[in-house]
């Protein structure tokens, strides 16, 4: 009995075991403290930072503190930190070569978080992809397209390419291209379009609708009519106003012409044979 007791006492008072216990306590308490501290710092700065920035800040603070805690824990176990740091340096170089793309994405992610060209919930267009920003992470940004597909775009690509944020500002402009027949009175058409915009409550009164006579097209007088709306009403107004323009044109006999071609027979060819058909 006494032998067993002595063995237990010797075991727990042995230098190595004591180091192991101290190391374990440092690791457990240190990591817990690091987590709490990282959360508190992120919360303290929450008024000045966006949600993705808070997540990043929490991670950076946690991993830095965790590195210190692990180093202290290893030191307690008797490891020489200078050797470890040397090995870590070599390892970092090796990892850096192996993970060039990931590192580039992380650095791009940091730039994106600092630059804040978009926020979670914004609708952005990158190349041919348009969707709502679901998450902004260190490596990539995830979009939900309007077809309800998830698209993951690496941060490096976002930094390199043109990103259009469609919902950055509270109001948006809808550009409607419309052509009318050459016989139509432009002033009358302009008046009609402005009336249509005036009647639609989703169409903003200010900034006022813009009418531009673009020029003489092949088959029509080309017009551009621009109206403004709240960003949430974009699709609704896009549909309703185009329908209303068509109805107004039909009501007032304004012709939207089909593409036309005038064929001239050159002097060197025979004239077209024309067959007259009686109207039934």
């Amino acid at each position: 009995m006494t032998h067993t007791y002595d063995w237990i006492v010797n075991f727990f008072t042995h230098e190595r075991i004591l180091s192991l216990i101290r190391s374990g306590v440092i690791l457990a308490a240190g990591l817990l403290l690091a987590r709490l501290l990282a959360g508190s710092i992120a919360r303290m700065l929450s008024r000045y930072t966006s949600q993705p920035q808070q997540v990043l800040l929490r991670k950076i603070v946690f991993y830095l503190l965790a590195a210190v805690v692990v180093a202290s824990s290893l030191r307690e176990l008797g490891f020489q930190l200078s050797v470890l740091l040397g090995a870590a340096g070599v390892l970092t170089v090796a990892l850096g070569f192996a993970a060039q793309t990931s590192a580039s994405n992380i650095i791009s992610g940091l730039f994106l978080l600092a630059d804040r060209p978009f926020q979670i919930g914004d609708v952005i267009q990158v190349g041919e992809t348009t969707g709502v920003v679901n998450s902004i992470e260190l490596i990539s940004v995830k979009l939900r397209t309007f077809q309800n597909a998830l698209v993951r775009i690496p941060n490096e690509e976002l930094i390199k390419s043109q990103v259009i944020n469609l919902t950055s500002y509270p109001i948006r402009r809808i550009d409607i291209e419309v052509g009318v027949a050459y016989k139509e009175n432009i002033s009358r058409v302009r008046e009609l379009l402005l009336e249509v915009a005036d009647r639609n409550p989703l169409c903003l009164e200010e900034p006022a609708p813009l009418f531009i006579f673009k020029g003489y097209g092949e088959s029509s007088l080309d017009l551009l009519f621009c109206v403004w709306c709240a960003k949430d009403n974009f699709l609704q107004l896009m549909n309703s106003i185009q329908e209303e323009i068509k109805l107004a044109f039909d009501k007032h006999n304004i012709e939207i012409p089909f593409p036309q071609r005038t064929l001239n027979v050159g002097a060197a060819t025979e004239p077209f044979a024309v067959r007259l058909v009686e109207k039934s």
């Binding site: 500002y169 509270p170 109001i171 005036d198 639609n200 409550p201 989703l202 169409c203 903003l204 009164e205 200010e206 900034p207 403004w228 709306c229 709240a230 009403n233």
Partner: protein, 269 residues
């Protein structure tokens, strides 16, 4: 019960509907038909009336239910069981209203001028003792507009082109609009041009005068030579023009104070 606004009708108030009955509130060109079923309230909205119609009519209970027209929109509200009591009340718009004069309007230096502007009303339907809100919708949906120094900065408002009269005798009261008295005071040495004015109606209370007209609190806009700031004050009582009036609707947003000082381009432009 059939009444007209000219006969001092108030279309708001407490009503009772038995199960299976309907009521009709015709306010200007818009109409609301409310139907009480066993486990459901139905509100049918139609705005296909004559735009210049200034009459109001309440039919409770509705003797003959007609088929809804093509422009009607129906909303249904489910409940375990419906109750008899129904409260109909007017409310002011849920966003500021931008008042724009039809022609350029200047306030001369060291002068003050009272003008009267009509603002759109909302139709609010509540049921039961706990006043459960069923609907809070515009009687006639006003057009949206943007008010601010640029397309990036500003706020979404409702547009109001019916600029106010300067004489109370010129006022024409309409059942779907409330009247606001705006006192413009130019304390500066230059005339100030008023192109647009942002009236923060969600901060205003709504009053009913003895003649059953609806008025908002009076608003005072102080302008001076300092082009950067203007101050807007609201008196917490009905305007003197309304006579003896009682409150019918509290402001949607309680202002922190009764004076709002803002950069001038956020109030007028």
């Amino acid at each position: 019960m059939t009444n007209r606004l000219d006969d001092n009708l108030v279309w708001w108030g407490n009503f009772s509907l038995a199960q299976g009955e309907s009521g009709l509130w015709r306010i200007g060109p818009a109409s609301f038909r409310i139907e009480r079923l066993k486990c459901e309230w139905r509100i049918l909205y139609d705005c296909s009336g004559e735009p210049q119609d200034n009459n109001a009519e309440v039919l409770v209970p509705l003797a003959q239910v007609t088929q809804p027209g093509p422009a009607s929109s129906l909303t249904r509200f489910g409940a375990g069981g419906t109750v008899e009591s129904l409260q109909i009340s007017p409310a002011l718009a849920d966003r500021p209203v931008v008042i724009r004069p039809e022609v350029p309007f200047f306030v001369l230096p060291n002068e003050e001028v009272n003008f009267y502007a009509g603002t759109p009303l909302w139709f609010r339907v509540e049921v039961g003792k706990r006043r459960t809100l069923l609907q809070d919708a515009p009687i006639i949906r006003p057009s949206d507009t943007w008010f601010g120094p640029s397309t990036m900065e500003g706020e979404l408002c409702y547009a109001n082109r019916l600029f106010g009269k300067l004489e109370i005798s010129e006022l024409s009261f309409r059942p779907h609009r409330a009247t606001t008295v705006i006192l413009l005071r130019n304390k500066g040495r230059k005339s100030i041009r008023l192109e647009r004015f942002n009236l923060p109606v969600p901060n205003l209370s709504l009053y009913q005068s003895a003649e059953s007209r609806l008025w908002t609190q009076q608003v005072t806009l102080d302008l001076g030579d300092d082009e950067h700031t203007a101050s807007l004050g609201f008196k917490p009582v009905a305007p003197a023009a309304a006579g003896k009036a009682k409150i019918v609707c509290e402001p949607r947003l309680k202002p922190d104070q009764n004076i709002l000082t803002r950069a001038m381009n956020y109030l007028i432009s």
